[in-house]
Symmetry: C2
Subunit: 412 residues, 2 copies
Amino acid sequence: MSIDEANKTCLQRIQESTAVWSDIKTAKDVIPGMTQRTVLHAGPPVAWEHMCGPMRGSITGACIYEGWASTPEEVEQLAISGELEFDSSHHRNAIGPMSGIITPSMEVNVVTNTVHGIETYSTLYMGIGKVLRHGAFDDEVITKLCWMNKELAPLLKSALGRAGGIDLKSIVAQALQMGDELHNRNKASNALLLTALVQHLISVGEKNEVVKAIDFIDKAGHFILNAVMAGSKGMLDAGSNIENSTIVTALARNGHETGIRVSGLGDRWFTAPAPMIEGVYFPGFGPEDANPDMGDSAITETIGLGSFAMAGAPAVVEYIGGTAKFAMETTLKMYEITVGEHETFKLPPVNFRGTPLGIDIRKVVETGITPVINTGIACKRPGVGQIGAGLTAAPMECFTAALEAFVHRNKS
Amino acid sequence: MSIDEANKTCLQRIQESTAVWSDIKTAKDVIPGMTQRTVLHAGPPVAWEHMCGPMRGSITGACIYEGWASTPEEVEQLAISGELEFDSSHHRNAIGPMSGIITPSMEVNVVTNTVHGIETYSTLYMGIGKVLRHGAFDDEVITKLCWMNKELAPLLKSALGRAGGIDLKSIVAQALQMGDELHNRNKASNALLLTALVQHLISVGEKNEVVKAIDFIDKAGHFILNAVMAGSKGMLDAGSNIENSTIVTALARNGHETGIRVSGLGDRWFTAPAPMIEGVYFPGFGPEDANPDMGDSAITETIGLGSFAMAGAPAVVEYIGGTAKFAMETTLKMYEITVGEHETFKLPPVNFRGTPLGIDIRKVVETGITPVINTGIACKRPGVGQIGAGLTAAPMECFTAALEAFVHRNKS
């Protein structure tokens, strides 16, 4: 099969994929190989000694939540002793924003690609500011984690059961016509999700807990993001392992390195140091506080959302910086490094053209244009949390290394 | 006061206005001068003999709903006998889409301009297709009217009471950043309204009736429109009767004539024959079935929404026809006939410029550009309903007549 044919096959499998938020389950019951001491993280694999501050902070919070330790020092001891089994979520059908920490007793969204029978997982979105995924771990964070996992999750599970699942692909398609780019702007998709869920929540839940859940999902603003991320991974995984395909199926960062995976190159990661982010900071913070780029959320760009869909979401520049013109130009530029256009995700401002889909490592290297990423900024010090949002780009080294490996793939 | 100063005053009063959906009340209890036989209609005043088919159809439905008659023939007799008191809603602080029929026992949205102490009224939005405002009046329509007025309205009234009102101006501002133009595309605003209402509905209502109400408001798609229309009128009325102002404060059609009112010219209407609409038809219908332009909903254009905000709502062209480029051009063109830009209603695709606000009759006549209107199309035969949606423009004669009257205003 030629490269073009392989890419066509890869793209077709991605295009025909679905993403249904079907259930909520406990991580240890559903994520493959989850031991009683497994800690999954975002991005390519990274050892404790290379983990950045916010990732260590998140692990601290997760260990406290699990009851494995009660101080940052105890967590460090645990990590150094080798008692914790670290792995990339991407190796376990899972995915997470920012540090992306998942431990065994956390509840996870189950998202199903019903066409290809793929199930993917992500934790519940926690809000912005002082939250686990950005490295915060104080009592407030742990209390919120407990409420989300012990009260919110069972309620959502019942509602999802009654609804027979929620079609995320359809919500994403609608929200792209409503100013969302589905990475840093999720106002419409979140409202559509609530609208789809609410009658089921009312039917299965007790009045006060339903009101609290709705209020949380509404105010969190981006609650749908984690489920959309799992859905994006499920759709892209359907296009993975197609021999001779040069399409990127994963783009993820652990705060230390950025890594990509390419369909025709199996599960191998091609990494480079994680770049900094050009951004807008919350009051009291600045670039000197910022951690390098982190998180699995660039899976949204990889499926044609985020910066790739910015032309349809000019209002996102109020959160991440830039101008409406820049938003349009970014999407147009991303068409130069992709092999197709999404058949379901359409952008009204470019006359309903599909979003750029299928990042081709050859085109990235040829054009010198790397994928733009809309993202949050974590404080580099553990325990603080989110301090801003902005724009960055995947490092070119990932793509040149992947192309090199691709060229030599039959010689090794 | 010079014309420019007068227009500045007019605009400032409009800009500082608010629109809070504060209550639901029965028309006869709240609309001024509402007798037991009053029938309010959209647009400038029109006598029964000049009323178009769909307006007669709506009046038929309203008379059946009120128990005044049971057949179209009986309604015609009532109308011809002079027993019905017809008047323009605009004369009674009220407003309605399409035929805009309001009779005494209908429940109406109460929208408050809290800054200027103005209350305005509109009936509840009924959905698309076979609905009263488009001239349908069969049993299904009457049954739905009964449910809306006797069951939905009291529930919404309780929820609004608990919420302390819903800030429509804020929802409109947000929805403009989410692809709505607030006349023919209300997907985001409707979802935001639901999100704001839902916890109050749950708190005051019984499970099944709440689920039914949410489902109706969601599926109706444009439920918020009637409240936004009342809010638009309340804001524009704050700018009316400013001596020497050339700004249009009302633009309304009764299906026979289109009329405008100008701030410096009091309550006088300047009318011309209502034009046809260029549009997209529902299956089975075409231009030969269409009624001329009808309804008070062009109040949205008058306040800088609808076609004036199309640049931010390219997806509306899927409903009314056209292209994304045309949507952008329309907004840009409307800046040529307006004296200001809305300080709260911002459009991301034109770099957050405010929507064109304050149609100036001088600019319309000078440029030859008349206000574009996004609108629904009613079947010209009574009893059928909505058959499409499209675009039209207010006739130039309204503006030339108004300008003529303005020039001679102190000579009469």
